[in-house]
Symmetry: C2
């Protein structure tokens, strides 16, 4: 039901495509025939489309890709959109069309000029050279496949807003998605420019690898992660088995597994080794820095001295709660830790944390130790619930999920104590309310 | 005062040695002369020593080293001892004599047979060979220095016991210490046996490096950490600039930076690559596995499927609180994160978390990103306090420290929600109570 209503007032076809087992079944078409209201007039359709095309011409974002109607759009200029909770755990690999979108500018468009595209690689800061590589040259390097979950640093800002308003998009839990990425290792590309690995770069004084997007967005990653054999950093050409789409960074995207979304720069045109972090607010400014709780502005704070967000912490979310009878609930959801640490356990409580039940991990269990870059899915059955309120045989309950990474970092209890003015890094317990039949006495 | 009373009823000399600026100053001797009670009778001393020597002969632990009287001894068979809070942050490098001790057996003693000692290296599982290396051969390899804090997985179990009794030593905050270690890289030693790095080991099917101590203690670490260039794992020959002492693992100790203490195997006699984790309870049993909260026994739990503790999470402690007047407190302490993640911030509250003040990091700030293996010291001034209770112009307050690592993992609020039957991984907010003058109205 939650899934069907996502299509209300919109074309239904994109939703059929998400779940291909429904698609093009004659039986389905037959069933729907009786529900048909009518057919749109062709002239009306043409006029509407012409007006839309005219409006687009004057809009810097007019050339942005058409988005899947299932996405929850927070803004279009630039586009920020999340996966609705009802679809988040429908597929372990998030369908490319449904991936969350967090842009800073209009989506760059190579307009068929892919053959002319050149990646600039500047390794001068580490005693290397400057290179210019075509997409064909990048494809000719050994290709490396990584299964990686990306998450916006502001995911779950909406729950932090409940404590006190933060600045930024009020994300629910859906600014997170997972794909299989493929492309050359960044270390192999930098090696072509004459710098062999992080130790060599460090010794020569280059501490960071800076990425610049065709949209002018810039971010950097320390060389230890960017070039290290354990980092698995690639320049992705493919996503989910197909060439990368414009929306998610075509022709080339930096994939920095285990790090916050913003370091995974899209439409990468430039890779540069540097003694310093990338220039710009995305790296050095407040946008991705966590101020102490209770601090409302950066006045009096030495922002430059605060570390830019890199690795992410441990998160979880609940995407479904069902009444299991007898005053209990079944719940399901996802969990993910940054840094490749992996998820040791997901605990669920429906009585305010008085008792916890360990969930079953159902997907994502076969990742390599220390390289657990992707999320897990979980299910937890028959969690005893305590009513917060209720009447007429109904009980109102709060269900909580709390994941633990393999370094035994636990999600903290209250968003209040980790609140920060930019609303970043909200990995407090995930809480969702539900109404169930009260248990019989 | 807290420091002086540590010596009550004991010889004072070992305490002078801890703080050498006091030591052998004629002025100090002169000051103490008037406090002299008398001199022990030489015959009494000899008789007491003879009786003690006789008792030692029949005690398997009788040959253990003499311990510094400043240590808080929890047990002697085997020895478990922690650094008292009053001394914990007196020196950034913990004096070797004051290092916390967590043994499983009597302390092995080479008794002058160092020249005959051979380290066995078995790399057969990765297609390598078997080697036998003398201490001289290990010293002849390139020596690598690492500044590393080690912490027992059970540190702060005492605070978890307040929720509900766990099994194991009831540690305060002092099962943690820091030293400068030096020795060959484990990767260099394993390379001599024909295996070049973690990827080669992995490909050949060896996933773990197992250490065995001369005391029969065994533990293992995944090859990615053990042999990777970012792991900084060494076989230490020196500690704080001097040859390793028996108490802390002479002649050879595995140093696995950022991982829990138990993986830093002392008195290492054997290094073995293996497709499996080390055999024994320290690796595969309950001793170092975190069960879900509320689970009192391992009955019905598939212990083998739970991950053994490896990387540690983020911790902090308060070692001093002073009345700053006007209803405020000054506090100081330490903070540390496993995994080399480093400490982004330490927050202090004295009003139950209603307000937080970011502490100044005073030591340990110059560590390499991603390789922040050692603790930091911090100070926080004029933290507004709210009285829990009080009378007669005095206020009873609770001061809390809460550290945040650079992946934005926060220490969780309550030990209750992370309680586990073995009392491991208690990184809940550090809480200490103090009495100050009540603020004037």
């Amino acid at each position: 039901m939650a899934k069907i209503t996502l299509a209300a007032g919109k074309a239904v076809e994109p939703f059929w495509h998400l779940f291909p087992f429904h698609f093009e079944q004659a039986q389905v078409a037959e069933l729907l025939k009786g529900m048909r209201v009518g057919t749109l007039d062709a002239a009306d359709v043409a006029a509407t489309q012409a007006a839309a095309a005219e409006a687009k011409k004057n809009d810097p974002f007019g050339n942005d890709p058409v988005r899947h109607p299932g996405l929850k759009i927070h803004s279009t200029h630039p586009c920020n959109a999340e996966v609705p909770a009802a679809l988040l755990t429908e597929s372990y690999l998030t369908p490319t069309d449904l991936w969350y979108i967090r842009h800073h500018h209009p989506v760059p468009d190579l307009k068929g000029q892919e053959a002319a595209f050149r990646l600039s690689v500047d390794a001068l800061a580490a005693g290397g050279k400057v290179l210019s590589l075509s997409l064909a040259q990048l494809r000719a390097l050994p290709q490396h496949e990584v299964l990686v979950t990306l998450q916006c640093s502001g995911n779950r800002r909406g729950d932090m807003n409940k404590v006190k308003k933060c600045s930024g998009t009020s994300w629910g839990q859906g600014a997170i998605s997972t794909a299989l990425w493929k492309g050359p290792r960044l270390a192999d590309v930098v090696a072509l420019a004459g710098v062999a690995g992080p130790d060599a770069a460090n010794k020569a004084g280059a501490l960071h690898v800076c990425f610049k997007g065709l949209d002018a967005m810039a971010a950097s990653v320390p060389v230890g992660k960017a070039l290290g054999e354990r980092g698995d950093v690639i320049l992705a050409l493919d996503m989910n088995g197909l060439p990368l789409v414009r929306e998610h960074g075509a022709p080339l995207r930096a994939i920095v597994p285990g790090h916050v979304g913003v370091r995974n720069v899209k439409w990468v045109g430039e890779v540069k080794l540097s003694p310093d972090e990338a220039v710009g607010d995305w790296q050095r400014g407040l946008n991705y820095k966590v101020l102490p709780p209770g601090v409302d502005s950066a006045a009096g704070i030495d922002v430059a001295s605060l570390p830019a967000m890199q690795e992410a912490s441990v998160f979880s979310g609940i995407t479904g709660v069902e009444d299991a009878g007898d005053g209990k609930v079944d719940a399901k959801g996802w969990a993910w830790s940054g840094g490749g640490r992996g998820v040791a356990r997901v605990d669920v409580s429906a009585d305010g944390g008085n008792t916890w039940r360990a969930a079953r991990i159902t997907e994502g269990t076969d990742q390599a130790p220390g390289k657990e870059w992707a999320w897990v899915f979980w299910e937890c059955d028959e969690v005893p619930a305590a009513a917060i309120s209720g009447k007429g045989g109904k009980a109102h309950v709060e269900v909580v999920s709390r994941a633990v990474d393999k370094a035994y970092n636990f999600q903290p209890e209250n968003a209040k104590h980790i609140w920060n003015t930019r609303g970043l890094a909200n990995n407090s317990w995930f809480r969702v309310q539900a109404t169930i039949d009260a248990a019989e006495k």
